[in-house]
């Protein structure tokens, strides 16, 4: 899962005296340590230069079909694959975590005057050489229109986190826009890096903002322009000669929809597709894929954390000792090695290990069933009939759910049953199709425990208020997705503090403390950091996995054939 994080249930806060470097640090250096996994080397084997003009095509295979082309509407990760090619944000985050200006001339900082010292006034200077794909010049009016559309109550927008704080938008010149924030909110920099700007001159004329020809033939300022869509099959985008940035170097890119991952891999193997995108190559094929001639395999870390989500309001899980015992009894390494072919890495945090905000030195998990048994014995969880422990009439038995049909997760459940049976905990499997499990069952915390992968980050920002804030529990009327029902006053305090801080060092300390707390409370039982294996045909240059985006084909504009 990927999600946009923002601030929920946080009172208005005063921004303290900022240092001159705060926003530079936040902006340009916010994710200085945010680098690619060591297993995803830069593609440097053919030091060639890009062609002078777009040449050739790439067929990129995706296991889900992109269907939402209005980049502000509800969509899933795969839709981003199209948005990155057709549209542009004000700035984007590169694989190193740096904000790179795109439609903006520069990333606003306190030093360059783009941000006021209190973080409330934003002044954005825009490029004046950008044109929409239909030839209309891009101006500040488009940015104003996009931000206002997001807050239009009739528009089916994805979400308004951060955007709802934007007030008094003023177009100062065709290439400059100012606005005021209702309260300081540092994660907005990341939010804007994933907010694509839409054309005012087209969308202001449509009668229904939720449905128009634009929705199925979008016009943007990105490196590729819309060509055609064959529903259920592919989407073709052609190079946009007037693109304002680097590239594109390909004449066209075709996003091919191949729903079955085995079939997707087979087509990559037989050479019908040049790149295996979202969901990539199944772990069981990775070793074989590495031996294929003329193919390169990249295994890169993702921001998602595979973990056991416990419903902390459910009987035994309310007891921290139980959570600790369960965690100690998981043979994580077996899950990683036997079921995931050793590809992922263990983690103790919800923050990816490559992020600037990652807290080093968290207590390391140790597989220790003997200690788990001792802990439960000491806490009064006695073994009852059938070897299942109970305390005060509450049995240590529960269900675990995940998406049915996910073979690796289903096998993981079998290992968990075995591991936990050894300490007197009885787990039953209760799997459901994706459309069922992620509905009310998950949203309203109707589960006992769930095996799930969640991207807690927004780009490079670690604000997890919607995930762990006390006011973000949907089952209790909260406005986030704290389906764990985790509550901690100290965590709430740290989250509120972090969202108003603009100094990187301060933020690092705040979110470090937060990770320690979450780890100590075992609000989630982390298993490993997610990974993706992707295949690229040899000779295709420019592929750069980007942990800060939901999809690694974010920069097709830089791809070219050697």
């Amino acid at each position: 899962m990927a999600d946009e994080t923002g601030r929920f249930g946080v009172p208005a806060l005063h921004f303290g005296v900022p240092s001159r470097r705060r926003f530079i640090q936040l902006g340009a250096g916010a994710a200085a340590g945010w680098t690619l996994s060591g297993t995803a080397p830069a593609q440097t084997e053919r030091p060639t230069t890009p062609p002078d003009k777009p040449r050739g095509q790439v067929i990129a295979a995706l296991s889900q079909e992109p269907t939402v082309f209005h980049p502000l509407m509800p969509g899933i990760e795969v839709d981003q694959g199209i948005w990155w090619q057709v549209f542009s944000p004000l700035w984007f985050i590169d694989p190193d975590g740096k904000f790179i200006p795109d439609l903006a001339r520069e990333v606003p900082t306190i030093e360059n005057g783009g941000l006021s010292a209190d973080g409330l006034t934003w002044k954005i200077k825009l490029r004046s050489d950008v044109k929409w794909h239909d030839g209309t010049p891009f101006t500040a009016d488009d940015v104003k229109f996009s931000l206002e559309l997001i807050n239009n109550p009739d528009f089916r927008v994805r979400n308004r986190v951060g955007h709802s704080l934007v007030k008094d938008i003023k177009v100062v010149a065709s290439d400059e826009i100012h606005w005021r924030m209702e309260s300081p909110y540092s994660p907005y920099m990341s939010i804007l890096s994933l907010t694509f700007i839409v054309p005012k001159h087209i969308l202001e004329k449509v009668s229904d903002p939720n449905s128009s020809p634009f929705h199925n033939a979008p016009v943007g300022t990105g490196p590729f322009r819309w060509a055609e869509r064959v529903p259920g099959d592919h989407i073709q985008l052609n190079a946009y000669a007037g693109y304002h940035g680097k590239g594109p170097y390909l004449e066209r890119v075709v996003f091919k929809y191949i729903p079955d991952l085995t079939v997707l891999y087979t087509q990559f193997r037989t050479g019908q597709v040049d790149y295996t995108g979202l969901q990539g190559i199944l772990p069981n094929f990775v070793q074989e894929a590495k031996t294929l001639k003329g193919r390169r395999i990249f295994v890169s870390a993702t921001s998602s954390v595979e973990h056991l989500a416990l419903n902390l309001e459910f009987g035994p899980f309310a007891d921290r000792t139980v959570r600790e015992a369960l965690y100690l009894a998981i043979n994580k390494q077996a899950i990683i090695d036997a079921l995931n072919y050793g590809l992922p890495t263990q983690t103790e945090s919800f923050v990816p290990q490559q992020a600037w905000s990652f807290q080093q030195g968290l207590p390391q998990h140790k597989y220790d069933p003997a200690k788990a048994n001792a802990l439960l014995d000491a806490a009064g969880w006695a073994r009852g009939a059938g070897g299942v422990r109970e305390k005060g009439g509450v049995k240590l038995e529960f269900t675990n759910s995940t998406t049915s049909g996910n073979a690796v997760r289903e096998q993981t459940q079998q290992l968990l049953i075995q591991d936990w049976r050894a300490i007197g905990a009885a787990m039953r499997v209760n799997n459901m199709p994706a459309a069922v499990i992620w509905g009310d069952f998950w949203q309203q915390s109707k589960f006992n425990s769930v095996l799930v992968s969640v991207n807690f980050m927004l780009g490079s920002d670690p604000d997890v208020t919607p995930r762990f804030g006390s006011g973000a529990i949907p089952a209790k009327g909260g406005r986030g997705y704290n389906t764990y029902q985790y509550r901690s006053l100290e965590v709430d305090r740290l989250l509120a503090e972090g969202a108003k801080q603009f100094d990187l060092a301060q933020r690092k300390a705040t979110y470090g403390d937060l990770q320690k707390l979450i780890r100590n409370d075992l609000a989630i039982l982390p298993l490993f950091q997610g990974f993706i294996a992707e295949g690229v045909k040899e000779g295709l240059q420019g592929f750069r996995p980007n942990i800060n985006t939901s999809i690694n084909c974010w920069n097709v504009r830089e791809w070219y054939w050697a």
Partner: protein
């Protein structure tokens, strides 16, 4: 005859209404909903989900939603897909051609091959050919289409490299030869079960006919054997096959669903599967109504044709 047709038509319409009501209820009462994909994968809080639910009218009571949908449907407005905002009719239309192409090719293969195997099997009953055809049919009917599709890809695409591993065409090519090249494997896979069924039905039908008195009479009259077989036997044996043909549509559609998934064929079957997964209610209901209409038309045509060739049916 006209009264018979009107009666059958009335029954068909009643059935369609029932299918729509039951389908709508089952679909909407199933856990999850069109927005759960966002809850699972992206960027929306419960507040956002609630807002969009209201905007889509999904918070209204189910009977109201059904009556609203039904009212619009009979006027020709089948709604818009929740996924891409296209009208349901255009979504179905954009997938129909591919499925029709696949099903038609598979049907032609199955009818020709199946009838030939069936007739020959009946004429050479218990011969080696008949035994092999029987065993072959049993195997074909037992093999899951999914598995057979994967084996076909493995052998003919991965190992031999003769056929593409999937897709309807090579992007940017689209010549007739290219289309046919891509069509071979999925059509053969889809035709496998159909051929077996046609073969078995044809064999039984032919066996029944060639033991009839009028066949013996024809032979006794000295009529050449080819004429006995083609004019008298085959013609009569084909009659029950009208019903088989009329009722084959659902089986064929089910097979197409699997074949389309394995061969990444952009047809209705895969659209149906995707739409169910996403709980895209308008599209699922659209496909359901379209398929039900097709099945009923097929069945209606079969009944009418049968009534035409056998007047006793009309009375009965």
């Amino acid at each position: 005859m006209a009264r018979y047709i009107v009666n059958r038509l009335g029954q068909a319409i009643m059935l369609l209404v029932m299918v729509s009501a039951i389908g709508f209820a089952i679909l909407h009462l199933a856990p999850g909903g069109p927005l759960s994909q966002y809850a699972a994968s992206a960027q929306m809080t419960q507040e956002d989900l609630d807002r969009v639910t209201k905007q889509l009218g999904l918070d209204r009571p189910l009977p109201i939603q059904y009556l609203d949908w039904f009212g619009r449907m009979v006027k020709g407005d089948w709604g818009r897909s929740y996924r891409d905002g296209e009208t349901v009719l255009s979504v179905i239309g954009s997938h129909l051609g591919a499925t029709f192409e696949l099903m038609l090719t598979a049907t032609i293969i199955a009818v020709l091959l199946g009838c030939w195997i069936g007739v020959l099997g009946a004429l050479r009953r218990y011969s080696l050919f008949d035994t092999l055809a029987t065993v072959g049919a049993m195997i074909a009917l037992s093999i899951p289409t999914f598995w057979f599709g994967l084996v076909t890809i493995y052998v003919f695409s991965v190992k031999l490299g003769w056929l593409p591993a999937g897709n309807r065409e090579t992007v940017g090519d689209g010549s007739l030869l290219d289309l046919l090249h891509h069509l071979i494997a999925p059509a053969l896979v889809l035709a496998l079960v159909e051929t077996a069924m046609w073969g078995r039905f044809m064999r039984s039908s032919m066996l029944e006919v060639i033991n009839q008195d009028y066949i013996r009479t024809a032979r006794a009259k000295g009529m050449p054997e080819w004429r006995v077989l083609t004019v008298h036997a085959l013609r009569n044996a084909l009659l029950p096959m009208i019903t088989v043909a009329g009722l084959q549509f659902p089986t064929l559609l089910g097979g197409a669903l699997v074949a389309e998934t394995v061969f990444t064929w952009p047809g209705m079957g895969r659209l149906f599967l995707d739409s169910i997964g996403y709980r895209d209610y308008p599209v699922v209901m659209g496909i359901l109504m379209f398929s039900a209409t097709m099945v009923l038309i097929g069945s209606l045509l079969a009944d009418i044709l049968y009534a035409v060739v056998d007047p006793r049916i009309r009375v009965g």
